[in-house]
């Protein structure tokens, strides 16, 4: 059992860098997108800023699903399962809001 935290060989350091590159880039992307939303929420630069904020959230959710939860690497059945859940949520939101927004 080895710890990457103490006395890593150059080979181990390269291995850690290679294996943690994607999680770290994902982390940076999520922080950057959160910074965009927090800035927009704090400053409210224009009237319909919520459209941009929800678009940013959609991007964050897609990154978590595809990269952090590794859906893109899963076999077709699991990809279908994970996608279907959000498909049903879209139907739920779409049909309900159609009623309220059309009144």
């Amino acid at each position: 059992m080895r710890s990457p935290l103490t006395r890593l060989s150059p080979g181990d350091r390269a291995l850690v860098r290679r294996r943690l590159r994607t999680p770290f880039l994902t982390f940076l992307a999520l922080l950057a997108l959160l910074a965009v939303n927090v800035t927009l929420g704090a400053s409210l630069p224009f009237a319909h800023v919520w459209i941009v904020e929800l678009a940013v959230v959609g991007l964050m959710v897609a990154i978590i699903l595809l990269v952090s939860m590794e859906v893109r690497k899963e076999p077709p059945l699991i990809r279908l399962f994970s996608g279907l859940g959000f498909f049903w949520v879209c139907i739920l939101f779409g049909m309900t809001l159609t009623d309220f927004l059309a009144r």
Binding site: L5, L15, W50, S68, I78, F100
Partner: protein
Amino acid sequence: MNSRGAAHHDGAKVGIELAHHFETVEQQRYAATLGIWAWLLTELLLFAALFLTALILRVTHPEAVKLATGHLKFWIGAVNTVVLICSSLTMSAAIEFSRMGWQRAMVRAMLATAGLGTLFLLLKGYEYYADYEEHMMPFLSRRPYELHESPASRLFVNLYYVATSLHALHLFTGIGLLLGMTWMAAKAGFLARHQNWIEVYGLYWHFIDLVWILAFPILYVVNRGA
């Protein structure tokens, strides 16, 4: 032990102990992943209904929702989002270390994840305390409600407590499960038999993060300009 598909990396042996009702390790791995996704989809529908209610309240009572949102602790919510994004990084690191067979690093990453989850709950607790001090708990019948002149705001504030406390309950459960799994994962031979447990649990943790990624903008952010 019927261990098939095991592989050696730089550290501990990594693999999955084949259960008798599966034909191959890959079949067992996919079944476990599909199972956790089935559970996560039920959770998604649960939280989606709450978020949909928040959006309907925004459409039907925009002024009351904006008034109530003005009393939410926007910056604590933002910091808590950063905390959960950090915990997703440590969870991803734990999964990678488990695949590499670096058991001690994996255990430390799991403990860091649990620590960050606990920090989130502490900040959430402080936020609730601040809300209590500001008389922003309309469900307390003996305590005056700050926005009593806006009855519709009660709907949004109550929904805020239901959604955030439900998320906090999931996080609390998740921390308990994570600590239990960390205790098991620290034992010799764990990674040789149950490496995929870390990956399956990681999906749950990332999903809790995903729910908050949705909750923060829907409750705290988009309604500021309603």
